[in-house]
Every structure is written in C-alpha cells, then in structure tokens.
Symmetry: C2
Subunit: 138 residues, 2 copies
DNA sequence: TCCCATACTTACATTATTGTTAGTTCCTCA
DNA sequence: TGAGGAACTAACAATAATGTAAGTATGGGA
C-alpha cells in the first residue's frame, strides 16, 4: 500500500501470481481493508472526500487517501477537483468498477450463508434476490 | 494469519467491518496470497499436501500450512489423515467452498477485461463463457 | 492580519503477513 | 543401526499494511 520493495521475494511472488492468475489480479485490486467500503458508498453516486470518510466511519484520513489513490491508479475510481475555496474533491467509480456489482452481490449472499453455516444458525438459501434489501449490515 | 493481537486497533477495525459487512467477511476468507491457488487446484478434486505444494510451485511449506489451516478453520477445506507410513494427508474443498465457483469465474472474466482496459489492449467482452477454457494462466 | 474549512502530507509507531532455515516425528525397510 | 519420505513445527527475519498525531496549502471572509 505505501512503498513496496520491488525486488523482495514477497513482491516477486505477488507479481508472479498476478501475471499468471487473473483471479488474483482482480482480488488484489478489491481486497484490502477499506476498498469494499469505498465501493459500497460510491456505487450510489459520487461523493466528496469528507462525506466518504464520514460514511465509512472509522477510517483515518491517511488510510482513506491511500486506498483512494490506489483505486485511482488501478482505474477503479476517478478523482475530480473543483477549485473552489475550500477545495472540493469528488470521487466516483469507473464503469469497469461498476461491473463488479455481481461480485459484491454474490459475495454478500455467499458470506451470509457461510456465516450461518459456521455459527450453526439455520442456513439461508444462496439466493441473490435477497441480497440487496438492506443497508450494508446484514 | 500467524498470531493476531486481539485488542489492536487494526484487529478491532477488521472485526468491526466483518461484523457489519458480509462482503468483507467473505473477502477476508478467500483473499490472502495463496488461497485462490489452493481453491484452483483443489476444486478438481482432493490432493495431498505435497502435490498441492508442487502444483502451486513457489509456496514454502510453512505458508501452505498456514493457509490450509486457516481455510480448515473457516470451513473451506477438509483435512484427512491416512495413518500410513509415511503419512498421507489429503485436502479437499467443502461444499460451501465449491459454491464460490461463480465468484472465481466472474473475477477471472472481469480481471481479464479490466487488465486489457488498463494496458490499452482491445477489451474482451465480459463474457463468462470464455472464462473457463484454459488452465490458470490467461 | 488571522482564522476557517477541506483535502491532503509527513514522520513515525505498531501489527500483520510472508519468507527462510533448520529441525522433528513416525514407522518401515535395507 | 540408520537412512528415508511425508507433513509438518519452531525460531527467527524481513516486508507490507495499518494506525496516530501533527502539520501544510489555499484563498475568502471577519
């Protein structure tokens, strides 16, 4: 996230896997701590930095910035600066990012079901129609 | 993965998000370095430790063990020990893990498309039928 | 002139994840 | 007696990710 050491075994492994395995490439793009939260809030429409931060709740400025920067580099969000005073900066998802919707839907449905299985609660059927009724809490 | 410090801010944030957000819960289960590789090879059938290691290629014993242990705890793989000499240990995916197949398919298709977009190569349509033709390399 | 808000940076501290190397255990067979 | 293979485990080292606290730039308005 911050700096990476290009020639570390760690990084070499990562690159090697990503080059061979498209799933991993995709996972690495969407899998870190605050990214799903960013997707979740931005998919409803553009938001400025401060709003996003407020909505997510527990992120620090730094963390949010880092994640947004990476998502921007990765072609997942677009950053627009309005030169007002004080500055206004808005973020919105790219079309490509929007296409991830089915993944979120599915992960949500599967996750709920699997959690139920694990905790011994009666399992929910793996039904996508249920998935989007509520807010982020499930 | 190794030991976690239960009461670190880091861990508290993680738990808090997972409790609220089913997508994140699911992501954390399948998102670390070698897990997709494990899924990929195990979905075709059970494998013993050494085979799995060989197939993946660059993992160390320790890393593979750690990931498998976590996946076992998470209800994603099942470990069977055959008390022969030398020991034979086989791993296979649980039913719940098998149900992740659509996620892998989609991530693969999306990833390929997105990578093309990013590198300026002519984009592939987001077509799942293409997704499973070949081996892991795409 | 100084304060305000927004959207950051910087420097540093802590945790988590990944990697390396060298054992260990178990029984069998030479 | 001792080597051998499978599947680990322990101890340690390095890198990456996350978190905290304080500061910066900007121009407008009191």
């Amino acid at each position: 996230m911050g700096k990476t050491k290009k020639n570390s075994t760690n990084n070499i492994n990562k690159e090697k896997i990503m080059a061979q395995c498209t799933e991993t490439y995709a996972m690495n793009m969407i899998g870190t701590r605050w990214k799903l939260a960013v997707f979740y809030h931005l998919k409803k429409g553009p938001l400025r930095f401060s709003n996003l931060k407020e909505l997510i709740g527990e992120v620090s400025d730094r963390m949010l910035t880092l994640h947004l920067r990476e998502m921007e580099e990765d072609g997942l969000v677009i950053r627009t600066v309005y030169p007002e005073v004080p500055v206004r900066v808005e973020y919105h998802l790219t079309e490509s990012a929007m296409e991830l919707q089915p993944v979120w839907d599915f992960l949500r449905a599967w996750g709920r079901r699997h959690r139920n299985l694990m905790t011994g609660v009666e399992p929910t059927p793996l039904d996508l129609n249920i998935a989007y009724k509520g807010p982020i809490a499930s």
